[in-house]
């Protein structure tokens, strides 16, 4: 973790009609850290993700990534500028094979289009090979390369979760946003996921993690931001946040029960 701010989420307010999903939330993400974003259901965690990745335009405020304002960019441009995400409810391209799913992500960095594909230019062929090789490499990293040629919909649940991460990584992001990656995992799988997240960070990615599961968030995160009813109520080291009375009241319930 360095002191360089990678993403600056600047006083963002997000309103849907009369409902305020985020009110004046500011979060800084530093390059190389793992930031946990937690909060009870409906606190606005996924809305945060959606604003960062361009799904929603914030009502007020701005998102600055790598020094440039990305608030007004289109979704695919935001991805190309270096933010990738996974989805809370898995959204793979279910009739494509695992490796093709990842290749779609890898293609975000490629340029060859219709004419090149028709002529099979040298450039196009080398890009195809790059996409393929990188995708297989990522599937290996995720430990799911044995099912590379299976349709995504035929993969077991844990594989699908990891395939989503592989697809996001294939876009060569600087910031990887994981939306509840441990949902539905058993303790052993959670342990594997923790290690996987460390591996990803060690490869130079910055990770933003939304997670309900305290065993994951508290073990993995360098810092934690807590949202409640669309407001940021706490921020700090996992140990600090854990003992913050506001957080306990809002989220963790009775102290003895916690974690």
């Amino acid at each position: 973790m360095t002191n360089e701010v990678l993403l600056d989420f600047n006083n963002v307010t997000m309103q849907f009609g009369g409902v305020t999903a985020l009110s004046d939330v500011s979060v800084k993400i530093f390059r190389g850290e793992i930031l946990g974003l937690i909060g009870p259901n409906g606190a606005g965690k996924t809305t945060c993700f959606n604003v960062m990745t361009g799904v929603y335009q914030p009502t007020r405020g701005s998102v600055v990534f790598n020094g440039s304002d990305i608030t007004k960019l289109k979704r695919f441009q935001i991805t190309q500028s270096g933010i990738a995400r996974t989805f809370q409810n898995i959204r793979l391209f279910s009739e494509m094979t695992a490796v093709e799913n990842v290749m779609v992500g890898a293609d975000a960095r490629k340029t060859s289009s219709i004419p090149a594909a028709l002529l099979r230019t040298k450039h196009q062929r080398s890009e195809e090979k790059e996409s393929y090789d990188r995708s297989m490499e990522l599937l290996t990293l995720m430990g799911i390369v044995d099912r590379a040629s299976d349709a995504a919909r035929n993969l077991p649940y844990g594989y699908q979760r990891r395939l989503e991460i592989a697809r996001a990584l294939a876009t060569e992001p600087e910031l990887l946003c994981l939306d509840e990656p441990a949902a539905g995992f058993n303790p052993a799988e959670k342990q594997q996921l923790n290690e996987l997240i460390f591996t990803i960070r060690d490869r130079g990615y910055t990770v933003l993690l939304i997670e309900h599961d305290m065993s994951v968030v508290m073990n993995v995160s360098d810092r934690v931001v807590v949202l409640d009813f669309g407001k940021k109520i706490a921020e700090g080291l996992p140990s600090e946040v854990r003992s913050n009375p506001d957080v306990i009241a809002a989220y963790l319930g009775v102290p003895d029960d916690a974690a």
Partner: protein
């Protein structure tokens, strides 16, 4: 019924046998297999003469090679183009006949109505103009999805037909006659009587289109289209410029439709707005869905069936539409995803890395 079932089973085992045999063949054997297959297709006008099975394909009442060109080739070309839009990119287009009409009218206008350029020169112009119409229709409408897009495209098909009917410049309801024909090469005479040269030309166009579309499917472009069909939002968040690729799908579909129209106009020599009714759009879509939306070879098969079946049963007179309808219903009941459903490619797009990563599943 049980005998039919037995026949079906035997056909299935036969096809697996053929597949296994095909895979065990050497490259040379396979290549010669392809050559023979292509040759057989070019000799299709003589299929009804084959003793024993010729009657199966023959079309009573209409010359077989006329059906081959005017119906089968046109439907196959159109189904190939529409399959890019509907099957690959997942955009429901109910006005596809519009692009087909544009292609035909460009040929009509430039070879007869307002100029007398040779057909061969006009062909690429027709393709490009159709493509432009695809872009013109696509730019404002591709922001819509699903049903809304379908309704807008439905309107587009009608706009083209009604415009043609009312613009004197386009021959109004009289249509355009004396349309230029493809140039005769040596013994290949593109005349009025013999449809065979047109069929051979059309078949060559089909091969050309298949070749191009295959290359597109097996590339970044094809993956982007499929991703858009599967989940447009997720595709965009994975860096796919969805609008651009949807527009390309529309443009390429339109180009192929225009090509089919140009070929049609060159053969029949006369077009009028009545040649491009809404019903044709529905039949085009039926061909794609019947054959297997998203599978190029399925679309080809669907095009063949939709074009050929009604002609095969022409001697049933009025009841032939009923037979055709029953055939469609039966296919949809027993093969809901089409005759040749799209398959997930079990083979990786490229040879697997040779480091033994692809362990047994």
């Amino acid at each position: 019924m049980s005998r039919l079932w037995e026949l079906w089973k035997r056909l299935q085992s036969l096809s697996t046998d053929v597949q296994v045999r095909w895979k065990s063949m050497s490259r040379v054997q396979r290549l010669s297999g392809y050559v023979l297959g292509v040759l057989a297709l070019y000799l299709a006008p003589w299929w009804p003469k084959i003793p024993g099975i010729g009657w199966l394909v023959n079309t009573p009442g209409t010359q077989f090679s006329t059906v081959l060109n005017d119906q089968v080739i046109i439907f196959v070309l159109v189904a190939l183009g529409l399959n890019v839009v509907v099957g690959l990119a997942g955009l429901l287009d109910l006005g596809y006949v519009g692009f087909y009409a544009v292609g035909a009218y460009v040929v009509g206008v430039l070879t007869s109505q307002h100029a007398s350029l040779p057909w061969l020169v006009v062909l690429p112009i027709a393709v490009v103009v159709s493509m432009l119409f695809g872009v013109i229709l696509g730019t404002p409408t591709l922001r819509l999805r699903g049903d809304y897009l379908a309704i807008v495209t439905l309107g587009f098909g009608e706009i083209i037909r009604i415009s043609a009917k009312n613009l004197d410049w386009l021959g109004a309801s009289r249509g355009i006659s004396d349309i230029g024909r493809p140039p005769s090469i040596g013994p290949l005479k593109f005349g009025v009587i013999d449809p065979k040269p047109y069929y051979w030309l059309g078949l060559t166009l089909v091969f050309l289109v298949v070749f191009c579309l295959y290359r597109l499917e097996e590339s970044r472009v094809g993956r982007a289209w499929t991703a858009i069909r599967e989940d447009e939002d997720a595709a965009e968040l994975m860096g796919v410029n969805t609008f651009k690729f949807k527009l390309w799908a529309f443009a390429i579909g339109a180009a192929v439709g225009g090509l089919a129209g140009a070929h049609y106009a060159g053969k029949v020599g006369f077009i009028s707005p009545d040649n491009f009714p809404l019903q044709l759009s529905i039949l085009f879509l039926a061909a794609v869905v019947l054959g297997g939306s998203g599978n190029m070879y399925g679309a080809i098969l669907g095009g063949i069936m939709v074009a050929w079946l009604p002609e095969r049963f022409r001697n049933f007179t009025d009841k032939r539409v009923l037979v055709f309808g029953i055939a469609l219903v039966l296919v949809m009941v027993f093969r809901p995803e089409g005759l040749l459903p799209r398959r997930v490619r079990t083979k990786s797009p490229m040879k697997p890395a040779s480091d033994g990563q692809e362990v047994a599943q």
